[in-house]
Amino acid sequence: MAASIGMDSRHLLPPSTREHPPGWWAMVCLIITEGALFAYFLFSYFYLASMAPQWPPNRLPELRLAGPNTIILIVSSFVMWWSERGIKAGQQMRLRIGLLVTAIMGIVFLVIQSREYAGLKFTASSHAYGSLFITITAFHFAHVVVGVLMMLTTQLRAWLGHFTERHHLAVTNTALYWHFVDIVWLFVFASLYLSPRIWGHT
């Protein structure tokens, strides 16, 4: 036994562990603080809405594009989940295809969202409502961009065969982040598109 150098403690480890590594916890913390950021954005939205004589100031935001877009994001989360389950079972192809499909769905979301912006009848400097609407959706847009970029890197690594059943933290973190981006959208969608239909006032 190599006692003089000190024992290699790996021999002492339990054979397998389900403990989350630091990188996983770091992603959870990032999601907490980013989630708080969106919470403050939505707080601001409802705060100004509560004081406005008329809300929204012009027409209700249309669901024609945002509705289908919401469904795309929800489905993409399930694809991501399916993909991550794949690598947990050691299925490389399932991982690669799942990541690819999720990324494409994310890009489709971005394209549709851009068309939504192009069709808006107001700008960020029309009124406080416009500032809120554009800022909140644009921040979410940026988060989707980050999610897609993460998936591209993870995709590349998946093709290089970096991931195994036990070592795939980058996949797990990408998935966590993507689910977060999708759930935030549900809150944004409910607040900006649905709530004025219920509580809007003229």
Binding site: G6, M7, E19, C29, L48
Partner: protein, 639 residues
């Protein structure tokens, strides 16, 4: 199974081998690339102190202006810039980063670990802090320092009332340091959960770990509010938006809400770790464990929670509904309870003990006194009618300084006296320390106590000069004299640090005969911290014999982990062994990323959107390089 295996004591060869693995060369590259938490921690401390001195010089200029009525050393505009920079610097660039410095330096040593959980994030956090400060102070070179008060109330900050770059420096500078604090907080939370030595279950964590973990979690919830406010402000100013513009459906009160949702938790963020340090130092000098450990932990967490429910007490004079104000008034009175519990725990520790009156203890007793005065004036202003009378007067200035200087700076100085021997291997001068304490303590009270009086006599805060004959002259003269005496006290402290670093008495491993793990290693600690990863069986591992505790921690025998930069990860609650962590090598990437961020913020400031775009793309490339795995077979834990 894992931790009971018999280990033989490590040898000199082990130490030499670990030295080699963990060594950072003393070259320019080594200095810029290091991820050693001890070096980063000391950099944090020194840099924060530089900001303290800058903020102090600004205060000295203000006190010169206010010493007598009708003085005009400064124009009204210059005074606005100086008082804004004083507040912003002290609260955001000094008070929190100095505590991060202590935690960065001490946490792995308290936990029996070889580094923080995310060493490169740690380096990034420091560089962002430094560069954000440089960004903020670069406003001085164009004569456009922020000038609307540290809480920057809209609509004064809107473009039409403030067309120059002053408040752009403010909004962007704060967004910049927010990133630093956020990644730093994430690092603390993860380190607390994963990096404690085997056996250090959460009920055995040193109090300081509890308090820093609490405030790090608070920061993750509170900082986004400030970020949102600063994003809105910048968008209002430079993208013609209307968040705070009441003519277009916005509201200046939105700024106040967002600012104070951040601002009040921030007060606890800059005091709780200081109280945590006090809870570690007082027992050492009382020669007994802290009384009521569980109560102190609970009250720390309660303070963190209630701290989010009191922000409106900064807005009692803004015409909110009475019901809301009554609620926040009650919450503001409630938060006194956990703080009081902690103070009583200290008193119980002191009670009937024979405290050893060394310099750290003097500063802590001074701190308790100032804390009580600042706390009492705080309770007074939590009462609505009293607040309406005194809001925006010097009474509030007195209160905030008793709280922040009393509960932040005094414990910080105590902590420097206490841990300086660990950091440098030398003791600070005790004789100079006593002079240091008494000059600071007398100067502080002379400087700030009269402000209660000038406030009660109606002197408004933030005025750049005042007429004679209003009854404020004597109080202001005494305040100015006191401020300069206080400054001399701080100067004595700096002299003591510089002098003792060169020729202080040699400290040895445990000069105070304290009970926690950092004192089990040499002073200064080797780069790898612990020759063996300890196994912990109590809250006071080094006092187990004299306290006749049933179990014994192991600090001399244990795993040595000599196959590269490695340390142990444990489970979040029970600190059972989970895995061996491979720690990163020295790298320039955090520095490069921070530089890219500096470019980004100057791009935004100058509205050179292309430059900001280039910087964002650069950040994307750098982050990918950062996250790309270094080892391919076998994959690292981070894979």
């Amino acid at each position: 199974m894992a931790t009971t295996a018999p280990y033989s004591a490590p040898t000199a060869e082990t130490a030499a081998h670990l030295d080699e693995i963990w060594h950072t060369p003393h070259t320019l590259y080594g200095r810029l690339a290091t991820v050693d938490h001890k070096i980063i921690g000391i950099r944090y401390l020194v840099t924060s102190f530089v900001f303290l001195i800058l903020g102090g010089l600004e205060a000295a200029i203000m006190r010169a202006q206010l010493a007598q009525p009708n003085l005009h050393l400064l124009s009204a505009e210059a005074y606005n810039q100086i008082f804004t920079m004083h507040g912003t610097t002290m609260i955001i660039w000094y008070a929190a980063p100095i505590l991060s410095g202590f935690s960065n330096y001490l946490w792995p040593l308290l936990f029996g670990s070889r580094d923080m959980a995310l060493p490169r994030i740690n380096a990034l956090s420091y560089w962002l802090f430094l560069f954000s400060g440089i960004f903020l102070y670069s406003s001085a070179f164009v004569g456009q320092m922020p000038d609307r008060g540290w809480f920057a109330y809209a609509p004064m900050t809107e473009l039409r009332y403030s067309p120059a770059l002053n408040m752009d420096f403010y909004a962007l500078g704060i967004l910049f340091i927010t990133i630093s604090t956020t990644v730093g907080s994430i690092n603390f939370v993860v380190t607390m959960l994963k990096m404690r030595a085997p056996g250090m279950s959460i009920n055995r964590m040193p109090i300081m770990a509890w308090s820093t973990a609490t405030i790090s979690l608070m920061a993750l919830f509170a900082l986004p509010s400030l970020s949102a406010a600063c994003v809105f402000l910048f968008f209002d100013r430079r993208l013609a938006m209307h968040f705070f513009d009441s003519t277009q459906g916005g509201s200046p009160l939105l700024w106040q809400h967002l600012f104070w949702i951040f601002g009040h938790p921030w007060v606890y963020i800059v005091v709780l770790p200081a109280m945590g340090m006090a809870s570690m130092i007082i027992p050492t000098f009382c020669r007994r464990p802290l009384a009521g450990y569980g109560y102190v932990v609970m009250s720390t967490i309660m303070t963190g929670l209630i701290g989010f429910g009191v922000w409106v007490h900064h807005m009692f004079a803004t015409g909110l509904p009475p019901m809301a104000m009554s609620f926040f008034s009650a919450a503001s009175l409630t938060i006194v309870i956990p703080s009081a519990v902690t103070v009583f725990a200290w008193i119980a520790t002191l009670w009937d003990s024979k405290p050893v009156m060394r310099t750290p203890m003097l500063f802590l007793l001074g701190f308790v006194l100032l804390f009580v005065i600042g706390g009492v004036s705080g309770v007074m202003t939590a009462a609505l009618p009293f607040d309406w009378q005194l809001t925006d007067t010097y009474f509030v200035v007195a209160h905030i300084h008793y709280v922040l200087v009393g509960i932040n700076l005094f414990p910080v100085v105590a902590a420097v006296y206490y841990w300086f021997p660990k950091m440098t291997g030398r003791m600070m001068s005790e004789r100079l320390g006593r002079w240091n304490f008494w000059v600071m303590f007398i100067g502080f009270n002379l400087g700030f106590f009269p402000m209660h009086i000038s406030g009660l006599l109606g002197m408004p805060r933030r005025i750049y000069t005042y007429s004679g004959g209003l009854g404020w002259d004597a109080a202001n003269m005494i305040s100015s004299i006191g401020a300069y005496v206080f400054a001399i006290g701080v100067l004595l402290f700096l002299i003591n640090v510089i002098k003792s670093r060169r020729d202080g008495a040699i400290a040895g491993d445990n000069p105070w005969d304290a009970s926690t793990l950092e004192w089990s290693v040499p002073s200064p600690p080797p780069e790898y911290n612990f020759l063996v990863i300890p196994t912990v069986r109590s809250r006071d591992p080094l006092w187990e014999d004299r306290l006749a505790l049933p179990e014994r921690s192991s600090v001399r025998e244990g795993p040595t982990l000599t196959e590269g930069r490695e340390t142990l990860a444990t489970t979040p609650l029970d600190a059972e062994l989970a895995r061996v962590l491979h720690m990163p090598e020295d790298t320039l990437i955090p520095l490069v990323l921070a530089l890219v961020m500096l470019v980004l913020f100057y791009g935004l400031l100058l509205r050179a959107w292309w430059l900001a775009g280039v910087a964002l793309f650069g950040a994307y490339v750098v982050i990918n390089i950062w996250l790309w795995p270094k080892r391919h077979a076998p994959l690292s834990e981070e894979g």
